[in-house]
Symmetry: C2
Subunit: 203 residues, 2 copies
C-alpha cells in the first residue's frame, strides 16, 4: 500500500508493474508452470520467480496456490457463450461444440486437463466447483436454450429440452477425456453431433 | 509348498484355510478395508490381520497392494452379461442398465467407486485397464449387439450400431458419478433410457 512497492520483494532489475499488468504476468507464470510441471510441483516461490515478483505480492492476493490457480483459470478461460439462432439445431450444436473444443485447447483448458488428470478427489473439490460454475452449468444452459428454440422452431422433438438430454454433450467430452485415447478435434465433434446429439433430439 | 503351512504366519488360534477358502477370506478383507478406509490407508499387514493370515501368504500371491486389489475386484465383480432378445430395444437397454446398476451397487462396485474417487491419474492407471477390460468394453460390446439386433428387427434406425452411440450409456454413468449428486438408481436408469438412449436410436 506504500509508495512504489506493489511488487515488493522483486529481485534487482525486475520490471516494476502493478495492478492488472502484474496480475497478468502472475497468471501467465502460473499457467506455464502448471502445464509444464503439474500442480504438485507448483509453488508460490516458483510462480513469483517466473513472474519476476516477490512471494509477498502473491500472498497479498491469494491465500494458497489452489486459490491462485483458480484465479488464473477464471481470468483466462474462454467463456462458454450463448449460441445465437442459426436456423437449425445441427448448426447451433456444432457451434457450441466448436466453442468447447476451443476452450479445451486453450492455455487454461490445457491447464484444466493437467489438473483433472493429476489431482485426487479431495484436492479436486475446489476445481470441481469452479468447473461446474464456469464450464458445465453455462454449457448445459446454452444447450437447453438451443433445444428449447429447436422445439419452438420445429426441428427438435417436443420434450427434448430437459437437463438429462443437455448432459449428453458434456458427458461425452468427459468420457472422451477420461477413457478414449484420441484427440478432442473437430472430427470427434462432428461425429458426436451427427451420430449422437442430432438423432437424439430431432423431431 | 511344505506340509501344512499354506497360511504360514497366521496367529495362534487362526483358522487353517488354504486355496480358495483362504483367497476368499483375503478378498473379503481387502474389499472391507478398501471400502471403509480407502486405498491410501490399505496395507498388506492390515489385510493379513483382518483375514487372520500372515503377510507372507499375501506376498506369495500378490506382489503389491494394487495387485491384490485388482485380484479382489476381478474375483468378485459381477460380470456384464450379454442381453438376450427381449423383443424391443427399450426392454434390452433397461435390462443392460439394471445390470450396470447392480454392478455399481455390488461390494466390488462400491470399492471401485472409492478407488476412482480417491486415486490420482498415475495410481489409477492399473485400475483403468481393469475397468476397460472388465466393465467398459463388455458393456459397449453388449450395447452394440443390442443395437445391431434392433436394426435387424426394425426398431433401431439404420447406422445406429456404431461405437460412439454405444459410448453414450457408460459416458452418462461416468458423468453421473463424477458430476451429479443423486444416487445411481432405477429412476435415473429409466430416465436415461427413455429420454436419451431410445430417442437416440429409434427407427
Amino acid at each position: 500500500m506504500s509508495g512504489g512497492g506493489a511488487a515488493g520483494g522483486a529481485g534487482a532489475g525486475a520490471p516494476r508493474r502493478r495492478g492488472a499488468a502484474l496480475e497478468a504476468a502472475i497468471f501467465d507464470a502460473t499457467l506455464d508452470l502448471l502445464t509444464s510441471g503439474g500442480f504438485a510441483r507448483l509453488t508460490m516461490e516458483g510462480v513469483a520467480g517466473a513472474a519476476q515478483t516477490g512471494k509477498a505480492a502473491l500472498y497479498r492476493r491469494w491465500s494458497s496456490k489452489a486459490d491462485l490457480v483458480v484465479g488464473a483459470l477464471g481470468a483466462t478461460l474462454p467463456s462458454v457463450t450463448d449460441i445465437p439462432d442459426l436456423g437449425s439445431v445441427r448448426a447451433e450444436m456444432l457451434q457450441l461444440m466448436a466453442g468447447f473444443g476451443e476452450l479445451m485447447n486453450s492455455r487454461a483448458g490445457t491447464a484444466i486437463r493437467v489438473l483433472m488428470a493429476e489431482l485426487d478427489q479431495e484436492q479436486a473439490e475446489a476445481f470441481r466447483d469452479f468447473l461446474l460454475r464456469q464450464v458445465i452449468q453455462p454449457a448445459n444452459a446454452a444447450m437447453l436454450r438451443i433445444l428449447g428454440r429447436g422445439e419452438r422452431r420445429g426441428d427438435v422433438r417436443r420434450g427434448a429440452a430437459v437437463p438429462i438430454v443437455a448432459d449428453v454433450a458434456p458427458a461425452m467430452l468427459l468420457y472422451h477425456a477420461k477413457v478414449c485415447e484420441g484427440p478432442l478435434d473437430m472430427a470427434f465433434c462432428l461425429d458426436l453431433v451427427d451420430e449422437v446429439l442430432v438423432p437424439m433430439v430431432r423431431a
